[in-house]
C-alpha cells in the first residue's frame, strides 16, 4: 500500500490543503484532507460528495472513470483540486456547483463495499482490504 501527502491549492485565493492519498493494489485510491480540516456548514450534517470520515468521493466507480492503469497524477490529483474548488464555494455559498451523481439504493450497497476498502466491483463476497 502506498500513502503519500501533498499540498493542493485549487486557486490563488484558496486555502493550501494538505491532502493524504492512499492507494493499494486492487483498491480504489482514497483521499482525505488533513489540513485545514474540512468543515460542515452551520446546521448541515455533512459535506457533499464525501464518504465516511470525510473521505472525498471523486469519481463514479460504476462508470469506470478511474481504472488502475491510470496515473494518480492525471486523475485523482486534478479531481481532488476540483473537489476542493467546489468545496470552498459550497462552504461559503451553500451551493455545490460541481454536479455529481447521487447514489441509488443499489449504489449504496456498492458503497458499503467501497467503505470497507474493496474495489472488487459488484462482488460482495470478495476479500476485505
Amino acid at each position: 500500500m502506498a500513502i503519500w501527502t501533498g499540498y493542493l491549492r485549487p486557486t490563488d485565493i484558496s486555502d493550501n490543503y494538505l491532502v493524504k492519498f492512499q492507494y493499494a493494489k486492487s483498491e480504489f485510491p482514497k483521499v482525505w484532507v488533513l489540513s485545514p480540516q474540512l468543515r460542515k456548514r452551520e446546521g448541515e450534517k455533512r459535506i457533499p460528495h464525501t464518504y465516511k470520515h470525510d473521505r472525498l468521493c471523486l469519481f463514479y466507480p460504476r462508470a469506470r472513470e478511474w481504472s488502475s492503469d491510470m496515473l494518480i497524477a492525471d486523475t485523482i490529483i486534478p479531481w481532488t483540486s476540483l473537489w476542493l474548488f467546489y468545496y470552498e464555494i459550497w462552504y461559503t455559498t451553500g451551493e455545490w456547483l460541481g454536479d455529481g451523481i447521487h447514489p441509488t439504493k443499489e449504489d449504496n450497497d456498492f458503497r458499503d463495499i467501497l467503505n470497507e476498502g474493496n474495489s472488487n466491483v459488484g462482488d460482495k463476497r470478495s476479500r476485505k482490504g
Binding site: 485565493i13 476540483l82 455559498t93 447514489p103
Partner: protein
Amino acid sequence: MYATDPFINELDDLLAGICLKLQITPTQHKLAEDRYISVSKWLSDKSSHFYIANSDIYPQGSLRLGTTVKPLVNQEYDLDLVCEMGLDWNNFDPIQVLDAVESRLKENDSYSKILERKNRCLRLNYANEFHMDVLPAAPDTVRNHGCIKVPDRKAEEWKESNPKGYAEWFERQANQFGEVLAKAKVEPLPDPEDPRGKSTLKYIVQLLKRSRDVAFENDEEVAPISIVLTTLAGMYYRGILSINEAFAYTLHSLTNEISANDTRIVVRNPANQDEDLSERWDNNHKAYNEFVKWVNELSDTWKKLNIVRGPELVKMLQELFGEKVTNDVIKERAEIISRARKEDSLGITKSGLLTTSLASGITQVRPNNFYGD
C-alpha cells in the same frame, strides 16, 4: 494582470466583480439617459412659458463619475441632474425658482404622478429603478469655471456648488498617472482584454461607499456621506493599479491623517476650497467618531483579509460588502470553471491550480462525476 502576486490579481478580479455587480447596468444607464433627455427636453421646450434661454442640463455625482452603488435598502439608484438655467440668480428668489421648475414638471402628467419636493431639488421617483433628482441652478458669473448657484429651500438662499469642476478634478485624480501607465504597457504588458476598463480610483470609491452602506445599515443618520468618501478617495489616490493595494493604501493614508489631527479632519471641495464638504461633523461629533471608528476597523480588516485564504477570505468579503453580491461573483467564477470542465478544456498546473487554458505543461482534467450524497 495588475500585480505580480497571483493572489492579488485574483482578489482584484473578485473586487472588480463586486463593483460591477453593484453599479448601474448598461440597460439601466440607457434608461436613465433616455429619461434625463426627456426631462431636459420638457424643461427646455421653447413653446412653454417656462422657457429660459441657454439652459444646460447635465448629470452630477456618481452617475457622472462612474461610481454608482446600488443602495442596500430600497435598491433604487440615486441619480442627480443639474438643470442650469440661463438666468441671473441675483434677480430671483431661490424658492421661486424651485417652484417654477416644480410647476413646469407638474404640467406633464407622467412627471406629476412621481414628483416629490425636496430641499434643493425636485425628485422624480421611477419605482424600482432609480429616483432622479432635478437640481435647478444658475451660473455663477463671478466665479465661472463651472461654478453655479443652487437654491436652498430651508435656508431660503442661493448656495454655491460646482459639479462640473468637481467631476473634472475627480477625472484628473483618476487618470493622473496615465503617462506611467502608457510606459508600463511596453513591458510587461497589462492584460489587453482588461474587463475593468475604468480607473482603479472609481472602484475604490465604490468599495468605500458599499462598505459604508453595510456598516451603517442600522445607523444611517451618522454614516459618512458619499461626497466626503469620494473626495477622500480622490485625494489619496496615487495611481496604484491594483484595487486591493490601492484600497489598502487609501485606508492607510486616511487612518494616518485622522490620527495626526487632534480635531476633526476637514474635507474641502476640490473645486471650491471655501466649501467644507464635511461641515456636518462640526455639530455632530458622534458622526465623526463613528466615521473614525469605521475607517480604523476597515483598515485592520483589510490587513487581515490579505493574510487569510479560502472560505475565510470570502466570509470577510461577505461581511464587508454583502453576502448576496459576493456569492454572485463567486458563483460566476465557478461557472467559468464548470463550463471549461464540460467542454473538456479545464486544465491543472503542476502545482495543482485549476486553469481554463491548456497550454504546454498543463494537464487536462479528465471527465469525472463526484459521487455520494
